[in-house]
Symmetry: C2
């Protein structure tokens, strides 16, 4: 069978990795795909750098459109990133009848419905294993490996930068700003780390996971997104004393009011496997009604780990594998709404700074009780007459809306000196 | 499209789970498969029990052959187990041009080459996701998700019974025999637990993983297999003091002399994720040259977790997915030999019972040195004049053959009172 012809748009870190992996493992990949895979053309604005990487093994062009227009090209691999030109090129490639492989989570989370509809109309594949959790084959696991299951929830560490920062904050007892600088120095965080530390990147990936897990359209604009910038070292310490680790989780879950889609710092029991995922590693848990809880762990970023996923997608297409984007045909997508975060029910970690004086505990527990929030555990340590001391509370399952209302009342008390810290807890019920 | 017709051979635990999952998630599975999936016929010698489970939703027969012969049946699901009649029926189903789905690891590990060759000749699929690690989609991950990679090694906790026993021995400080009885009482171990506790079941699964990871024929007879029956509580304790857990791992790895294929108790650094897999859970690590180390975790047995894998295979076949059994066509299987265990190189945990008298350490370290075994760590505690005390040694990387020779010399010393305990160590290098 004729070798499949690939056109690469953008040859940065992942593009270079894709080139390297395809060249190095050429023979094994050909055996597995049942046909050769050739990168025929590479488009990159920096043609000089591209020529260096490609080293004569493929055409190098500055113009992505001429790669798309090339009738010899079967698959267009988009590795440019962002919502701008990448979107235009992906839509043009689809219009030209090319299959598309992309690692662009931002593009899919925001414009996925438009892109997938166009692909469905044209009868071409859009594959994106590399868009979520790098080299971990989580899209394949969800869409094919667990296809027997009604998926109940997916929860994952899907941003390596923030997991590295949280691991360092915990193990070294440092504060966020200090560790962020260290992460930037080591290359774990970008010069402008906003998308990572504010949870936006994780929310893009959670949005894609949500669409596949539940067979619904991508709904990034409905996601509840909190990053780790406000997280204080003291809360990591208290969490540890209570037997928890704090992780930035992307979570999507079925509940009565619709589908939860949220990214936020989360207390996870320290004995859980996912609580022990350290550094820049990723891990995704999937709970299905038949299989129970499964977990998938590996490198979530980097040149060759991401290339591993890009090449797997190319091989799937070469093998003629046709799985609808969401695992179900576009026409049979379910119409589940994203539930507002106020409808979330769970346990909460609450830290208050309160005056060390009689009657304070009675006032606070009274307000919590009025809002149907019961206390599972409490830590109050240190004495500071006339000053503020921390009061740490772990609640039983409560409604987010009730917690918000209670915090507003508590904050207004004269004995409470700072904004209450509230962090959601997961993983108690497993 | 016409619903795909399935014939079930054997409706025990997994068969009943398959029936339940297909019935409960019928609609979602149909959306995903693009067509309905119907269990048309069930064969089981105990027709009365089968009728109860099936409750009129499918034909029930005592004769498996009439299910195979039924021209309406597209896929035969073999859930009988063992090498006997199961082998005959699987080969007959293939001969009749049916696709086969099986959870039978013993059959595939021992007779896989014959079965896969027959399937290849007839152009039918033999799918077996359920044969390794239950509901964890590890076959799919290896064969499709990581297809870009040259796989370097696979190592896993692939037997839940022994992992349950080891977890209990460690957490409760009990000995093997006591925990085995407890495991049998709780249903985690069978009345005849030989296959599990002697490592045979894990070796079946490791054999299958080895074949897929490296694209080689199954070679169960070449596997090195040690179970956990001789493991003593004292070694679990010493391992813990040294920062390790003892797990029964199935390991397959490329090395210079061929492919390693071995199952044995293994010391794993306690900080590794896999060291923290407790109870009857399974986890498989895969190391690929591009992706690095990935890990897959979940339930390795049980009615619905195993059914989850069986149904995923049925859906793959319904979707028309055709992946060769070993991930590569039978004709292009590689011809790698299984390396003898004597060629293994790694670190070793060694426990000797030695007389508490001067000069003993010099004698022992002299013998180790003569055999090119250097000492990384040592524990010697307790004094017992005239009696024996434990001497625990962690070696640097050494050759298995050298360790064996050294142990024979050491055992012959008059100051050594018991058979030396030697346990391999993994996971130092990651």
């Amino acid at each position: 069978m004729k070798a499949i012809q690939v056109g690469l748009l953008g040859i940065g870190t992942v593009g270079a990795g894709t080139f390297a992996v395809l060249a190095r493992n050429q023979e094994e990949i050909r055996r597995r795909a049942g046909r050769g895979i050739e990168i025929a053309a590479v488009a990159d604005l920096d043609t000089a750098r591209a020529e260096k990487i490609v080293a004569g093994r493929a055409k190098v062009l500055a113009d992505a459109r001429s790669v798309i227009a090339d009738p010899a090209i079967d698959i267009v691999v988009e590795l440019i990133g962002g919502y701008g030109i990448a979107k235009t090129l992906v839509l043009e490639a689809i219009a030209a009848g090319k299959h598309v492989v992309t690692a662009n989570k931002a593009l899919l989370a925001v414009h996925g419905n438009e892109i997938f509809a166009a692909a469905s109309d044209k009868g071409v594949m859009v594959a994106f294993e590399a868009a979520v959790a790098g080299g971990i084959p989580i899209i394949k696991a969800l869409r094919e490996g667990l296809t027997a299951n009604r998926i109940e929830w997916v929860a994952g560490i899907i941003n390596g930068t923030t997991n590295f920062i949280l691991s360092e904050m915990r193990s070294k007892g440092l504060d966020f700003a200090t560790v962020l600088k260290e992460a930037q120095r080591l290359g774990y965080a970008e010069a402008d780390p906003t998308f990572d530390i504010e949870g936006v990147d994780a929310a893009h990936k959670a949005t894609i996971l949500s669409a596949i897990a539940f067979g619904v359209p991508v709904q990034f604009d409905k996601a509840h997104v909190e990053g780790i910038t406000k997280l204080q070292a003291v809360d990591i310490r208290y969490a540890e004393q209570l037997g928890y680790r704090i992780k930035l989780l992307g979570i999507t879950r079925r509940q009565d009011k619709g589908i939860e889609l949220r990214v936020h710092p989360t207390l996870v029991p320290a004995k859980r496997l996912i609580a022990n995922v350290e550094g820049a590693m990723n891990a995704v848990m999937v709970h299905g009604d038949a299989v129970g809880t499964t977990l998938y762990y590996g490198k979530g970023a980097g040149s060759e780990p991401t290339a591993s996923a890009v090449v797997a997608d190319i091989v799937d297409i070469a093998r003629g594998l046709e799985i609808p984007v969401f695992g179900v045909p576009a026409a049979s997508l379910a119409d589940h709404a994203i539930a507002p975060i106020s409808a979330h029910q769970g346990c909460y970690y609450i830290r208050l700074m309160v005056l060390d004086q009689p009657g304070v505990l009675a006032q606070i527990s009274g307000i919590l009780g009025n809002h149907r929030i019961s206390i599972a555990q409490m830590i109050q340590r240190g004495r500071k007459e006339g000053g503020s001391v921390p009061l740490v509370i772990m609640s039983h399952t409560a409604l987010e809306r009730d917690v918000g209302n209670a915090m507003r009342e508590i904050k207004a008390l004269s004995c409470v000196s700072e904004q209450p810290v509230v962090i959601r807890v997961e993983g108690e019920e497993q």
